[in-house]
């Protein structure tokens, strides 16, 4: 990076507002995915005005810019794929306004997800999106990725909880989209920007909807001796319209590694568990709980336990939310997928995943949002072995293709980023992708902001990392054969 730009950034932000030593940059070349991207410098704006000036400098020096929150992303969205400046929002972390009467808060992008809930829980309110990383991840990152979480099942993803945004466009213009009200006349640009993975604008202010904490929460753990009994329970609950606030599944491999790490009280001899939460009025929760018990029994649950108090409940959730970390103790690396399938296809898809695991020789653990069909297979491998890295991506690609062919999608909440951009042609035609490129160019015409993300770098299917299967999933060739 040219020395003039570094000097100008330092003049703007002060010596504590910028990092450029190699050992510091190393800390920013990863996120939670298997991807890497080395930035040339890291800057820490403290205000919208800082962001505007940083963007002006980047434009003047024709240098790429990438926004970053806590770096917990799972698809390489906040990595500097083409180098340049990483704009880290950790110092823009003020909660600007809490309007309990109208269930709104205005926050800077660096506010940590759980900190907002902590700031409003005195009013009996909370911020609903609850990604597993919520103790660390920022609301700006949630906006970029349109993050979900276990309770997405009942309350929706981040897009459902954002009403307005302030943006700094890649030409340094400041624009407001949406507002505090429930809707705004005109094109729904706020809705379009949420989930654009930092490729449209740097977000400097977010107006979010708050929710009222439910009076009753019941957390149940249904324990199964066979995986398909657990998935059948989810299919049956969905079909009967029994709507829980969350419905998470952990398979045997995950249970054992989580239990070893967190001691949450998970049964280590089970094939799978469902962690189900019911929320709402006491009367509604009571009624749903008995329906739920009935379905679990019908689907051959060995036992349904109930968390007796907040401590037990928190422990179960701690186990669930630390599942990725627990796997980190078992294996040097893991590759987490995020495919979504229609919920009726759960059983078949898990069978396919097991088949992939056997064929490739990688252990695969499953911990996921079963209620909305959002899978998170964790493929265990050793990234120090380049051949393993190549094959793990191939195995992941095969699972994702199965999801798409089952009527699902590439990613339910982690984003496309740099990890899945070359898989986009599995779902989208050249015309679809060209239009998406056009939409990105409306916001980001020079492509300087977060370059080489989401859209495939090559044109057409020839560039696919994973070759499309010839027939349906049933006729999948066995590469190991």
């Amino acid at each position: 990076m040219n020395a003039t730009l570094l000097r100008e950034l330092e003049q703007l932000l002060g010596p504590k507002g910028i990092l450029a030593r190699p050992e510091d940059l190393m800390l920013y070349e990863n996120d939670g995915s298997v991807e890497e991207g080395r930035p040339d410098c890291i800057v820490f704006p403290r205000s919208k005005q800082d962001v505007v000036e940083i963007v002006k400098l980047a434009v003047r020096h024709n240098t790429p810019l990438v926004g970053r929150g806590a770096g917990t992303g799972l698809s390489g969205g906040a990595l500097a794929r083409r180098g340049g400046i990483v704009v880290t929002f950790s110092r823009m972390n003020r909660i600007l306004q809490v309007d309990a009467e109208n269930l709104r808060a205005v926050v800077e992008p660096g506010v940590v997800n759980l900190d907002l809930t902590r700031a409003v829980e005195g009013f009996g309110l909370y911020f609903a999106p609850d990604p597993s990383s919520q103790r660390a991840c920022t609301i700006g990152g949630n906006v970029s990725e349109n993050s979900g979480g276990p309770h997405t099942l009942a309350y929706g993803v981040t897009a459902n909880h954002v009403t307005g945004l302030e943006l700094v466009l890649p030409d340094a213009q400041v624009v407001r989209v949406g507002g505090a009200a429930i809707e705004a006349p005109g094109y729904a640009l706020a809705r379009l920007v949420v989930g654009s993975e930092g490729t449209f604008a740097l977000v400097t202010e977010i107006t979010v909807r708050l929710m009222r904490a439910p009076e009753d929460v019941r957390t149940l753990l249904a324990i199964y001796d066979r995986v398909e009994d657990a998935t059948n329970t989810v299919v049956e609950l969905t079909a009967r319209g029994i709507t829980s606030a969350a419905c998470e599944m952990l398979d045997g491999l995950m249970l054992r590694s989580v239990e070893d790490y967190v001691h949450a009280g998970f049964p280590v001899d089970a094939a799978a568990v469902l962690l189900i939460e019911l929320e709402g009025l006491r009367e509604a929760v009571d009624a749903q709980a008995s329906e739920l018990q009935e379905v679990c029994a019908l689907c051959k649950a060995r036992e349904v336990r109930r968390a007796r108090d907040t401590r037990e409940r928190d422990l179960l959730w701690k186990g669930r939310k630390n599942a990725f970390g627990a796997i980190g103790r078992l294996s040097p690396s893991y590759y987490v997928l995020d495919g979504v399938i229609p919920r009726t296809k759960l059983t078949a898809t898990l069978q396919h995943i097991e088949d992939v695991s056997k064929r490739y020789g990688f252990p695969i653990g499953n911990v996921f949002h079963a209620g909305d069909g959002n899978l998170h297979p964790l493929i265990l491998f050793d990234r120090r072995d380049p051949e393993q890295l190549r094959r793990v991506i191939e195995a992941g690609g095969e699972i994702i293709q199965f999801c798409v062919q089952a009527g699902g999608t590439l990613t339910g909440e982690h984003g496309v980023g740099m990890e899945k951009s070359e898989l986009m042609p599995l779902m989208f035609s050249d015309a679809d992708l060209d239009l998406m490129r056009g939409v990105r160019s409306v916001f980001n015409p020079t492509g300087l902001l977060n370059p080489d993300k989401i859209l495939p770098l090559g044109k057409g299917c020839g560039e696919l990392r994973v070759q499309p299967l010839a027939g349906g999933p049933a006729s999948a060739p066995h590469p190991s054969a």
């Binding site: 009200a181 999608t409 939409v439």
Partner: protein, 454 residues
């Protein structure tokens, strides 16, 4: 009047068959938009036909307005040009319905009422409850951002939308989103199209999430002498643990428009629906009646069965009922935070008194206020329109602060010639204009109907 066009409807017939093109002047009155009559109505049966029509229209600069049940053609500014009515009612197939997955896919011309029946057979529903439910089509409901009482519990129409297929104004077929309930793959272009009033693309398929039908439902109506008690009651409900399906507040004028049985026509009403298990409904009844009493309600009624259906239908159909009774009415749609509602209602009252126009008010507690200025007389009634104009200008300024941006969802065409139904564009207008040029480079789709002249 509309400029004469040179295109030959025979070319449309080549694309969709002569039986699907109408050109006789007398036949076309039903497709008029703000008094403008198209040169032809074309009824495509497939997305491929739409691609052909739009490619031709783009090449010849023909203005095209996509439409379904034609219930919301009055929404928006008068089009700058209008050559072809793109009538999507032939595309009325249910393409996919996976009851066990609670998802479905439909063509844009499927009528809401028809879909509601198909879903009810599986004890499911789409939480939309749009006005003009008998005529409204799924494409139109999404394109016009139709609002509904059920938004309170389920979110808006766009929140039910999982993905769309569409053809842009450049004649390019594309898609966005997917068919599953959770998805962040690619840009959410379907969310951009929702509410764009047919100015960017023609939607050819829509995928929705469905919901299980509640076991049972009951409605409650508390009556108050003034708006203060009604809004206070509404506020108390919002602060409670109750989880009602709908919460609507309306004034006596609206009560007269709704004509629902047993609703007091000289009172402000708070109408609440509760659904689910018997114990849940009983709890709602108990707490609601207490809250209402404590805020000075002088009546609390329970609605069941046919009476409940009638009240729910009337609330859903409020704009239609108001326009049927007062064809010259102007109906404002004001998105607003609950805390600012009392001040808005106060200003609406002041406008009503200053201009001597009766005002029907319907508050959706989730954050929309409808204010209908009830002027008698039809669209052609110049005296009525002259009366309406200053009141509408006044009300357009009535936002308690700059953050409130009302629009006039329904009004006579004559009023639209005097003032914009849209609030002034915001700082995002340049982005909106660029998006319009990207999707519709020749400006052929519903030109001029949208905010900022798009």
């Amino acid at each position: 009047m509309k400029p004469a066009t040179t295109f030959s409807p025979a070319r449309l017939a080549d694309l969709v068959g002569a039986e699907n093109v109408l050109t006789g002047a007398a036949e076309l009155t039903a497709w008029e938009v703000d008094g403008l009559r198209p040169s032809a109505v074309v009824r495509p049966g497939t997305a491929a036909e739409i691609t052909g029509i739009l490619a031709m229209a783009a090449a010849e600069r023909l203005a095209v307005i996509p439409m379904g049940g034609r219930s919301k053609l009055g929404v928006g500014m008068p089009p700058r040009n209008y050559d072809v009515a793109l009538d999507l009612t032939r595309m009325n197939r249910l393409l996919a319905f996976d009851p066990a997955d609670l998802t479905l896919g439909v063509e844009p011309g499927v009528r809401f009422a028809q879909l509601e029946q198909e879903l009810a057979a599986q004890r499911q529903f789409l939480p939309l409850a749009p006005a003009f439910a008998e005529r409204a089509t799924m494409g139109g409901i999404i394109a016009a951002s139709a609002d509904s009482p059920l938004r309170h519990a389920y979110g808006s129409a766009r929140d039910q939308l999982l993905g769309v297929e569409f053809v842009t104004g450049a004649g390019v077929a594309a898609k966005s989103g997917g068919r599953v309930v959770k998805n962040v793959t690619g840009y959410d272009i379907h969310q951009l199209l929702a509410g764009s009033l047919g100015t960017l693309a023609v939607i050819t398929r829509l995928n929705f999430r469905t919901h299980p039908m509640p076991l049972r439902e009951r409605m409650f109506v508390a009556a108050f002498v003034g708006s203060e008690g009604a809004l206070e009651c509404c506020r108390a409900i919002g602060k409670s643990q109750l989880q009602p399906r709908i919460v609507e507040v309306f004034n006596p004028a609206t009560a007269r428009v709704l004509q629902a049985p047993r609703v007091l026509r000289d009172r402000w009403s708070v109408a609440v629906a509760a659904a689910g298990h018997a114990a849940v409904i009983a709890r709602h009844e108990r707490e609601l009646s207490r809250m209402a009493r404590e805020r000075g309600a002088d009546d609390f009624a329970v609605f069941d069965g046919a009476e409940q259906d009638a009240l729910f239908t009337a609330l859903r159909e409020f704009p239609r009922l108001a326009l049927e009774a007062f064809p010259g009415a102007a109906i404002f749609r004001v998105p607003i935070l609950p805390g600012a509602m009392p001040e808005l209602l106060h200003k609406a009252q002041a406008v009503s008194e200053r201009h001597h126009i009766e005002t029907a008010i319907l508050v959706r507690a989730s954050g929309i206020v409808y204010i209908a200025l009830l002027t008698p007389g039809g669209d052609g009634d110049a005296r009525s329109a002259a009366h309406l104009l200053p009141a509408c200008r006044d009300l357009m300024q009535a936002g308690p602060d700059a953050g409130v941006r009302p629009m006039i969802e329904w009004c006579p065409t004559s009023l639209k010639r005097e003032m914009s139904i849209w609030p002034p564009p915001g700082s995002d207008q340049a982005l909106a204009e660029k998006l319009k040029r990207l999707f519709d480079p020749q400006g052929i789709l519903s030109p001029g109907r949208f905010l900022g002249g798009l």
